[in-house]
Amino acid sequence: MSEGSPVYIMWLRQVKQYLRSKGRIIGSLGQPILFLVALGFGFGHIYAQSTGGNFIDFLAPGIIAMSILFTAMFAGIGVIWDRQFGFLKETLVSPVSRFKIMWGRTLGGATTALLQGIIVLLITLAIGFRPSLVYLPLAFVFMALISILFTSLGTALASRMEDMQAFPLVMNFIIMPVFFLSGALFPLDTAPNTLKIISYFNPLTYGVDGIRGALTGVSHFGLLLDFGVNVVLAGIVLLIGSRMFSKIQI
């Protein structure tokens, strides 16, 4: 990705927009903090009594994944925004392949989601999360993978939508079950079988498990499986998303 490449300049644009919007950064921290405080401190005792572990240690990776999920999926709204305000035309009429436009967009959105995840990680540290820092780079890999996975998903969906009001509704319709059924809030080991099976079909489950495994050493599937599933899914969704984006009509 050289300095003069369209993928780079598209990425740069997305990241600049994010960094310039302080309200967006701060505003999207409210929800993870609320979850951490309300659930972390609220259920902490019960969790400690039944498992003997520290709930914040269990919950923090899930909340990091949640903030990435939200930021990444909502990065897709940029497509609808650009359609509304005309900038999409400027890119679609240019001699750059739509695949590259999509990749630049996705990498940019994924970068902002990853940054958001890192900020939340720092907040969890302040709240009392004590991860093993040896595998921190590995946790970043998992964070990056789910960032790419869900940004391409959000972008793909947005390229088929023209309605600015519908997008957040559709997103919440998808995000909420994905988040709640991912093992971000409760341990899969002791969950009822039905819930367990549902969560096995949820892409976020493997991301949460990977981040948790890297940061706390406790993983349900094992890091190798988590990694494999995330790489394959991110690749597939990025390809399907690129195809959907390339068919976009003005």
Partner: protein, 272 residues
């Protein structure tokens, strides 16, 4: 620039047809534009102007018919065709959250203009449209006229052979409108650039264009120089000629039904 009698055609359109469902937006039109010409494409709202421009600029594929743009077929050689024109859209297409310079830079990179040349051209173009001292301001703080000037400058970074201007002066005050036509005229005369424009200001079209085509209900009613059009309709200005050829009825209906058809077509495509 007055093009010579035997200048070659840079745009050639033959039997171009575009349908959205049952609705025919552009109905078998043929016309040509000579290299270096100022060509005005005029018509009432919903006549098919924007649909035609979208087909010429690769944003829509024709239902049938043939387009040659700088000797390229835009629906086959999309990317090559895209390099040969610049476009200023009817509505806003800048990124408001970037500065004027960043918008220019983005365009330059997207069109593969090498870094050194990019820098020089951005500077000279921003000076040309008198925005150089505002280059680091965010576009959202610009007035309508400044945005338009920036869009024109942006469309020129990659030195296009043809510049498409879809109502470049819409919604601007007379001072700014005159200013913008001055820039465009200068580009046309000094660089020999072909300009394909649409406008509803007939007096402006009459003043600046070498050749005019009038489209209505998806058909070309007449093509020629402004003088020829006035002569053949026995009128003494282009506005009267235009009204004589297209009638006095108000055209909002056809515009909105065309849009409705488009939305339908889109919706069905999206659902498949």
């Amino acid at each position: 620039m007055k093009s010579g009698e035997n200048a070659k055609n840079i745009i050639e359109v033959t039997d171009l047809l575009k349908k959205f469902g049952d609705f025919t937006a552009v109905n078998n039109i043929s016309f040509s534009v000579k290299q270096g010409e100022m060509f005005a494409f005029l018509g009432p709202n919903g006549a098919g102007k924007t649909t035609t421009i979208k087909m010429l600029t690769t944003l829509l594929n024709p239902t049938s018919g043939k387009i040659l743009l700088n000797n390229l077929n835009p629906s086959e050689k999309k990317n090559e065709a895209r390099k040969s024109f610049g476009i200023v859209f009817q509505d806003h297409s800048l990124d408001d959250d970037l500065t004027a310079y960043e918008n220019m830079e983005f365009h330059g990179v997207f069109y593969g203009v090498p870094k050194k040349i990019r820098k020089e051209r951005i500077e000279s173009l921003l000076k040309f449209v008198e925005l150089w001292d505002r280059k680091d301001d965010f576009v959202k703080n610009f007035s309508g006229g400044m945005k338009r000037r920036l869009e024109i400058a942006r469309g020129l970074i990659h030195h296009p052979k043809i510049l498409f201007l879809d109502e470049p002066t819409l919604g601007l005050d007379p001072q700014t409108r005159n200013h913008i036509w001055d820039y465009i005229k200068k580009l046309n005369e000094e660089e020999g650039m072909t300009v394909f424009l649409t406008t509803h200001y007939m007096n402006e079209a009459e003043k600046i264009s070498d050749s005019v085509a009038i489209i209505d209900h998806g058909k070309i009613m007449k093509q020629g120089t402004p003088a020829e059009l006035k002569k053949s309709t026995k009128t003494d200005n282009l506005e009267d000629a235009f009204l004589k050829l297209t009638g006095h009825a108000i055209r909002d209906e056809s515009a909105s039904s065309a849009d409705a058809f488009r939305n339908h077509a889109r919706m069905w495509r999206g659902k498949k």
